[in-house]
Symmetry: C2
């Protein structure tokens, strides 16, 4: 069975997945890099980095994944669709190495990048997008890439099978909240928490057997 | 030095310290007992209960404390001040065993209970209340008892020296938020997280030396 999985999605203690004031120069707004420093400190990202629980969570990102779905806000700054040259913020060899479905009302032709990543632009509901991504994944799992707005929609639609959140010990105060409208979410999942010496707490939601 | 300490303050994953719809029959609103089940499962509360990290955090509640300050909403249901017989929800021997200062715009004479608890009713700012409680504590620490609204005010005023939160793995969706207006709170503290096999994560804020 092809699962819909979320990995390394970082939120602040107060539940924001992105700060306020997102722009081309500030992809996470006033949050800056603070939601992702824990990841950059692992040896998956940086030789000589930590090899503990943060790193082993980071390493779950790739294996078994055959496609990703991401929201419009992850592919670029607000207004990227007005730039016909925009290919995302990851350079020529993005870290996905699979088909990636970008949810947008401004569809454009697919872009084939180096390293196996192809961006497809679709205007679709969460369920439709998941169906398209599953087909492209060829039996493998689909990563639900965020940001917070699209992740919340996939959760509300009951489409997520596994979710790994990293709760970072900062209070952002403003931005895009993950939790809004998800009252009682825990009833669908087995929820576990694992704190790390880095200060981050990994919270995993594993769908309970039907 | 007399510290202002918070212990065992439970919030949901989405940051609510109390649910919606608080009444005489539902002190935590639609949250019910779900924010505090982890505490009731410890051997501090129940013979034969767990003796692990949840329990050792619970046991920090009493030692070294000489007085408590609580908000109006912790002393009783909305409207308790219209009931002259109301003595709080804890019975004749409340679990405080010290002077307790209740912040309210509806002051009334102090009430001496069994077991060393005396309730004093004061209409005061957080700083004024802390000064009064410190005097009553005779050199010991002051516990800041909550609820979420008063705790947020004490945090915003920079009056908390130590705070222990228990993050419970439920999504309440509505109620009273702890985190509003506290952007950047972590800069004043050393923040540590400790997850428990119960699913709760203990997050401690220890004021950084000046």
């Amino acid at each position: 069975m092809s699962l819909a999985r979320v990995h390394n999605f970082a939120i602040s203690l107060d539940g924001f997945g992105t700060g306020e004031g997102v722009s081309r120069d500030a992809f996470f707004g006033h949050a800056g890099e603070r939601l992702h420093e824990w990841m950059a400190a692992t040896r998956s990202w940086e030789p000589g980095g930590s090899g503990g629980v943060d790193d082993v969570f980071v390493r779950q990102y790739g294996p078994g994944i055959g496609a990703e779905i991401m929201g419009s806000g992850k592919f670029g700054y607000p207004g990227w669709h007005e730039d016909p040259e925009w290919q995302g913020p990851w350079g020529e060899n993005p870290p996905f190495h699979t088909p990636v479905f970008v949810l947008t009302h401004h569809v454009r032709p697919s872009i084939e990048m180096e390293g196996g990543t192809t961006f497809h632009f679709i205007d679709a509901s969460p369920a439709e997008a998941l169906e398209a991504a599953r087909e492209a994944a060829g039996g493998l799992d689909v990563r639900i890439g965020g940001g917070a707005t699209m992740l919340r929609e996939f959760l509300a639609a009951g489409l997520i099978d596994y979710m790994h959140l990293a709760v970072v010990p900062i209070v952002l105060g403003r931005g895009v909240r993950l939790w809004d409208g998800l009252e009682g979410l825990e009833r669908q999942f087995q929820v576990e928490a694992t704190s790390s010496p880095s200060g981050v707490t990994h919270v995993t939601f594993t769908r309970a057997p039907a």
